[in-house]
C-alpha cells in the first residue's frame, strides 16, 4: 500500500488557481523532491496534504485512508504526518526539550519522562545534546531547524513533509540541516520535500518532480530530470537555478 496518493488535486485562492490537477504517489521509504519556481504550487501542495488548506477537488489517500473525506478527524490525520517549515516555527515560550516532546506528550499520550528521554537521545544524536534546556531564540537558525526536524520525527510519522527547510538559512548552515535529512533517508523515512537545493535533490531524491503553474510538468529520477529534461520549462528553470 502506498503511503501517500494524491489524486487529481485542485486548489484555488479566490481567482488564483494554484493546483490544477496534481497526481503523485509515494511508496514507503520514498524520498520525493518537489522543484519549481516560487508560486508553482509546491508549498500549497504540502499544505493540502497536511490538511492546513482544504482542497477544492480530488482525493488525498494516506496509507489507504481517504483523508480528504470531510468526516475525517483532521487532528488525528495531522498527528500521523510530520511537518517542518521554512521559518522553523518553534514555540518561543518553550524550552527545546518541551518543544520537541509536545506532540508526544499531549497528542500521543506518551509518558512525559519516556518522551523526554527519547527526545534527549535524538537531540544528542543530531549534535544538540547541550541545548535541551535552552529557549529557541538562543539557538542559531541551523540549530533551530534541526530542533524543528526532531520535533517532527519524534512521534515516528508515516510521512514527513519538508517545506523549503533550508531557504531561511544562510549558506553556512544549510549543510548541517541537509546532513540530518540524509540521515532520515538512511533510516527509511518517507519524505516529500520542496527545495531549491538542486545538488541535494540530485543526491538524495528517489524521484524529482518539477512543478510549473500548478501542474506536475515532469517527474523522474534525478538523472532524468537534471541531465535530460524533456520539457522546455524544466530546461529553462534548471538553467536559471544552476547558473547564477
Amino acid at each position: 500500500m502506498s503511503v501517500l496518493e494524491v489524486r487529481d488535486v485542485w486548489k484555488a485562492f479566490g481567482d488564483n488557481t494554484v493546483l490544477k490537477g496534481v497526481d503523485l504517489t509515494l511508496e514507503e521509504h520514498d524520498v520525493v523532491v518537489l522543484i519549481g519556481a516560487s508560486g508553482s504550487g509546491k508549498s500549497t501542495l504540502l499544505r493540502t496534504i497536511n490538511l492546513i488548506e482544504r482542497i477544492d477537488d480530488g482525493q488525498l489517500i494516506l496509507s489507504g485512508d481517504d483523508i480528504s473525506d470531510p468526516g475525517v478527524d483532521m487532528d488525528k490525520v495531522r498527528a500521523r504526518i510530520g511537518v517542518v517549515f521554512q521559518q522553523f516555527n518553534l514555540f518561543p515560550h518553550m524550552r527545546v526539550i518541551d518543544n520537541v516532546t509536545l506532540a508526544a506528550r499531549k497528542v500521543h499520550g506518551e509518558n512525559p519522562a519516556a518522551a523526554r528521554e527519547r527526545a534527549a537521545e535524538l537531540l544528542a544524536k543530531f549534535g544538540l545534546g547541550d541545548k535541551l534546556r535552552d529557549y529557541p531564540d538562543r539557538l542559531s537558525g541551523g540549530q533551530q531547524q534541526r530542533v524543528a526536524i526532531v520535533r517532527a520525527i519524534l512521534t515516528n510519522p508515516e510521512l514527513l513533509l519538508l517545506d523549503e527547510i533550508t531557504s531561511a538559512l544562510d549558506p553556512m548552515l544549510v549543510g548541517e540541516v541537509l546532513d540530518l535529512v540524509r540521515g532520515l533517508k538512511d533510516t527509511g523515512s518517507t519524505i516529500l520535500m520542496a527545495t531549491h537545493e538542486m545538488a541535494f535533490a540530485r543526491e538524495v531524491a528517489d524521484r524529482v518532480v518539477f512543478m510549473h503553474g500548478g501542474r506536475i510538468l515532469e517527474a523522474g529520477s534525478p538523472k532524468d530530470i537534471f541531465d535530460n529534461p524533456q520539457q522546455p520549462e524544466t530546461r529553462e528553470f534548471l538553467a536559471r537555478v544552476t547558473h547564477h
Binding site: 495531522r78 511537518v83 517549515f85 521559518q87 518553534l90 514555540f91 509536545l102 499531549k106
Partner: protein, 287 residues
C-alpha cells in the same frame, strides 16, 4: 560594547572622547532635570500657599491631629478593599480568560456562545462602573433568590464583572497578536484547537499584554474603593464616617494616601516590566 566578550579590546581615543562627551551630556541632563523640578515645585508651592483660602483648606484637608486619629479606622477599612481586590482579581483572571477564549472560538456551533460573550463585553465596557455597582448591589439581592450577602461581596462581584470585560479584550488582543504560523505549527503536530489555544496561543498572547494587564490591575486597585457606595465599610466609607463626625476632610486625604501606597509598588513594577520587554524586543537601542 565589550560586555561578555573575553577578548580585551582597548577603546580607541575616538571612542574615549565619545564616552566623555556622553558622560558630560548625561550630567548636564541630570542637572537640568533637577533644576527645573526644584523651580517648578517652589513655584507651585508658593502659588498654593499664597491663595486667599489656603489657611482654611489646610485646616480642613491637612489636619495632622484628625488624620492621626482617623488612620486606624481607615486602615481597617483598607483591609476590606484588599480582600475585595484579591477575590475580584481571581474572579477576573478566570472569567476574563473564559470570555476571551469564547470570543476566539470558531465554528458555527459556538455562534450563540460567541455572540453572548461579545454582547457581554460590549455592555460592560460601555456602562460606568458606578452604575454596575448599583444594579448588582441593589438589584440582584432584591430578586430574593440569593442568600443575604454583605454589600462588600456584591461590590466585589460588580467590580469583577466590569474588569472581566476589560481584561477579556486585552487578552483577545494579545492572542490575535500571536503569529498565525504558531497556530499552524501546533495544529500540524496534531494538537486540537483547544490544546493549541491553551499551550501555544494563550501563553504567548498573555506575555505580549502583561503590561496592559498590570495596568488594569492597578486601575482595579483603586476602583475597589467604589464598593463604599453600597455601604460596605471600606477605607473610603471609614473616611466618610470620620469626616462626618469631625466636619473635616483630612480622613479622605488619609484614605487617598493609603490607596497610593498600595498601588505604587505595582505601578513601578508595571513600568519596569514594560521597559524590560521593550528592551528585549527592540533591536534599535538608540531610538
Amino acid at each position: 560594547m565589550s560586555d561578555g566578550t573575553p577578548t580585551a579590546h582597548e577603546p580607541s581615543l575616538l571612542e574615549l572622547e565619545r564616552r566623555a562627551y556622553r558622560k558630560r551630556s548625561t550630567w548636564r541632563s541630570v542637572g537640568i532635570a533637577a533644576g527645573s523640578t526644584l523651580i517648578f515645585a517652589t513655584v507651585a508651592t508658593l502659588l498654593v500657599v499664597n491663595t486667599p483660602g489656603w489657611e482654611a483648606v489646610k485646616e480642613s484637608f491637612f489636619n495632622w491631629e484628625i488624620g492621626k486619629e482617623s488612620f486606624p479606622d481607615i486602615l481597617k477599612g483598607l483591609w476590606l478593599n484588599i480582600q475585595a481586590l484579591f477575590f475580584a482579581g481571581i474572579g477576573v483572571a478566570i472569567f476574563g480568560t473564559t470570555l476571551a477564549i469564547v470570543r476566539s472560538l470558531r465554528g458555527p456551533v459556538f455562534f450563540p456562545l460567541r455572540m453572548l460573550a461579545t454582547i457581554y463585553v460590549d455592555l460592560f465596557r460601555g456602562v460606568p462602573v458606578l452604575i454596575v455597582l448599583y444594579l448588582v448591589g441593589f438589584g440582584i439581592p432584591a430578586l430574593g433568590i440569593f442568600p443575604p450577602l454583605s454589600a462588600a461581596v456584591w461590590g466585589t462581584i460588580a467590580i469583577g464583572l466590569c474588569y472581566s470585560a476589560y481584561v477579556a479584550e486585552v487578552l483577545r488582543a494579545g492572542m490575535e497578536a500571536v503569529n498565525p504560523s504558531q497556530r499552524v505549527a501546533a495544529r500540524s503536530l496534531g494538537l486540537t484547537h483547544g490544546k493549541t489555544l491553551r499551550m501555544v496561543v494563550i501563553p504567548q498572547g498573555v506575555r505580549k499584554v502583561i503590561p496592559a494587564l498590570m495596568n488594569d490591575f492597578v486601575s482595579m486597585q483603586k476602583d475597589v474603593g467604589l464598593i463604599s457606595v453600597l455601604g460596605a465599610v471600606d477605607a473610603i466609607r471609614a473616611a466618610q464616617i470620620d469626616a462626618a463626625t469631625t466636619y473635616n476632610f483630612t480622613p479622605y486625604v488619609v484614605a487617598a494616601m493609603l490607596f497610593i501606597a498600595i498601588s505604587l509598588p505595582l505601578t513601578r513594577l508595571t513600568d519596569y516590566v514594560a521597559a524590560r520587554m521593550n528592551k528585549r524586543e527592540q533591536i534599535g537601542g538608540v531610538v
